[in-house]
């Protein structure tokens, strides 16, 4: 999806250079400045007012959003922020900017050893594009302090970002997945029992949407498993 909006990998690199006048007309795939302004409109920090032509990578963007949010006063209604964010179609394009071959999921394993549960660590994850890792930390922070608005917003944002990332990999939910590996070779796959359960549900007739209904797992987990299976080419789509 949205192939055309994808910024070629070289360009992402280019954007880190100062050489910006080449492509000022291409809108940032996800305008974090605007987003930050929108959600932080009750705040007072002027520093987020940036040059509209400056291209900002999503990483630094989210980081700044987080910084901004960290300074926000308590009592700010996070659910409202999320509702706004949800409808912001630009968010979906965030992934277009993640360089090919770069896989946030792969970072999960590496992250497991890190047990730093701090806002700083969370923001670092976001900056590194490891949304799954950031989400994990954000959830822990929320569990520790339910009023931690910036963690809550980060969790929601990461969830949204991850959901769209997985959705981009598996495509529309009306698609019907099929198992590509012969049954007698299943046991050689390196998957866990949850992915095994998912595979058992794939019957060549059920749509992705039906699988989500059947999965017995949180939607995000299901999407992740399906997108992993698709990436490993264990499943494909009719």
């Amino acid at each position: 999806m949205s192939k055309n909006l994808e910024i070629p990998t070289e360009e992402v690199g280019a954007s880190n250079n100062e050489d910006d006048q080449e492509c000022p007309t291409v809108p940032p795939p996800f305008d974090f400045e605007a987003y930050a302004k929108e959600i932080a409109s009750k705040g007072e920090d002027e520093s987020l007012e940036g040059n509209p032509h400056t291209r900002i990578t999503p990483r630094s963007g989210i980081e700044r959003v987080q910084d901004k949010l960290a300074t926000m006063s308590e009592g700010y209604d996070a659910s409202e922020l999320i509702a706004q964010a949800d409808t912001d179609e630009r968010v979906r394009d965030t992934f277009a900017t993640i360089p090919d071959g770069y896989d946030a999921i792969d970072l999960n394993a590496a992250r497991a050893s890190a047990d730093a549960v701090t806002a700083h660590e969370m923001n670092d994850r976001v900056a590194a594009g490891d949304y799954a890792g950031a989400l994990d930390i954000a959830n822990k922070l929320v569990a520790m302090d339910g009023n931690d608005i910036s963690a809550r917003v980060c969790a929601e944002t990461c969830q949204m970002v991850l959901r769209q990332m997985y959705a981009a990999r598996i495509g529309p939910l009306s698609r019907v997945p099929v198992v590509m590996v012969p049954r007698d070779q299943f046991r050689w796959l390196s998957i866990d029992h949850r992915a095994g359960f998912m595979l058992s549900l794939i019957d060549g007739a059920s749509t992705l949407e039906m699988l989500l209904d059947l999965s017995a797992m949180p939607e995000l987990d299901t999407l992740k498993i399906l997108s992993d299976l698709a990436q490993q080419r264990i499943i494909s789509f009719k």
């Binding site: 999806m1 949205s2 192939k3 055309n4 909006l5 007309t25 291409v26 809108p27 409808t87 179609e89 630009r90 979906r92 529309p172 009306s174 049954r183 299943f186 046991r187 796959l189 998957i191 866990d192 029992h193 949850r194 992915a195 095994g196 359960f197 595979l199 058992s200 549900l201 007739a205 059920s206 039906m210 209904d213 059947l214 999965s215 017995a216 939607e219």
Partner: protein, 607 residues
Amino acid sequence: MEKVIGIDLGTTNSCVAIVENGAPVVIPNRGGYKTTPSMVAVTEAGKRLVGHIAKRQAITNAENTVYAAKRLIGRKWTSPQVKNSIAMSSYRIVEGPHRDVRIVLREKEFGVPEISAMVLQEMKVIAEDYLGEAVHKAVVTVPAYFNDNQRQATKDAGEIAGLDVIRIINEPTAAALSYGFGRNVEKTVAVYDFGGGTFDISVLEIGAHGVFKVIATAGDTFLGGEDIDARVIDWLVEGFKEEHGIDLRQDRMALQRLKDAAEKAKCELSSVRETEVNLPFIISNGRNEALHLQRTLTRQELEELSSDLIERTIDICKQTLEDAKLEKDEIEEVVLVGGMTRMPKIQASVEQFFEKEPNKGVHPDEVVALGASIQGAALTDDRHQMVLLDVTPHALGIMTFGSYFEELIPQNTTVPTHRTKIFTTSRDHQTAVKILVMQGESERAEDNELLGEFILTGLRRAPKGTVEIEVTFEINADGIVSVRAKDFETGLEQSIQVTATSGLTRDEIKTMMDDAKGDLVDRRTSEEFEAKKQEADKLIAEIEKLFPQVEQIVASSDFGREAIEKAKAIVGKARTAIERRDVAAIKEQIEGLTRTHRMFKGVVAKT
């Protein structure tokens, strides 16, 4: 002529059939299956699932999946059956406002007929999809032992689903009809019905002129194929525990797969002698390694695992014949009904017991629906062949002194009918009598179902046994029972009309009907949504294909850049509308997308 469908609303599965060109046929559902699980679930996201999809998540979402609602329909909260169901069910069963039963799904309370209505509605839609036209009328089957309240509740379920249930018939009767009995043959037929959740044995006396008398019926509403599945699951779980030291029951995903695999293996063993149960990645061990379950089950092992259950059905048959004072050789035909009777061991056990080869169709789980459709066609056919006459499913009477049940209208009486009996007072100087109207076959009043009560007052003070009271029961053609008590001397009388009740009021039924209609609209909208979504998706894809080219062409002009921004906004909005499943919004965006697409094509074409 309006089409009438026949529906077998089963405890575990339902089936719909219709007579086409003179022959009854079962209508397959969208998945191609001829029976549909009678299950209803609500997902975490609040989505309602009915049928196969509900079954596939029945264990992983056990608290919010209703199965076997039939065991509860039309029953009072206080009935032992309900107590049993509460103990056995994973979903929440609560007391309703009229001493009835309600089911809680994700915080919302549903009447039992309302749940059954969801299944009936599914069957209605299956028929409508197949026929390509709306269906309004149905014949629905119920077990022979269902009392008037349970029958009424089943009718109410039909009404909620938008179906006029023109006749309720007994399952064994329907089965016998589809096996071709009843055409001018007078016969005594035993119907052995072993389904997914219940076992029933009924003996029918088929007389001339379409009278099917149920002369004996018994069974176990908690004995079915699922109990055999459970045995297979136990066997698999124990084997796995021995091998790996892990109890698969702790994991719902594992249990869901075990359940599906156990039933599948059981069914396969009806036609092959051994089968492999293969469940890779069933669970992970402590070291995070996925483990696999792989075992071979033979037919003989399955028979051993289930032998006592099969034995129990035969014991019930034996008891039923004894109670009805019937000899085995008085049974002229034996008919097999229910999916479980595909199992060779069961067929053999039945044959051995009745000492005759049973009639077995190819699809024992479809015969009840087929019979219902035959009856549906007969009811609308002018030639009126084989129209069943309504008979009273149970005896009607009153409670007398000492808690005895005095029968006025016997079981199997064809309606309309009326009967009168004289009673006297049981105490000296008694000035009032209470008439308790009951239904059932037991001599002990408390074992029967209380249908209603009223008091006749103003009796002459006299020694017991001297004041005579005439009690009359009348059942009209619509099945409504009136009871009248009259004091002979004074001519004073008192009466009531006993209407069977499902436990729901008219108003409640009305509201539930509206809700059900709303759901159907939702469902139809979802079809519309799919169509519009596809249209929008196609346009978006085409626009996006053109984006790079258009961008290149118009990048130099402010106007062009603005146009591109606008186009992107439209695509974004369309995506949001799709994500929200908002059909109206998608339609609106399709217009914008069409315009954009046209413009883009124009721009590209000009260069």
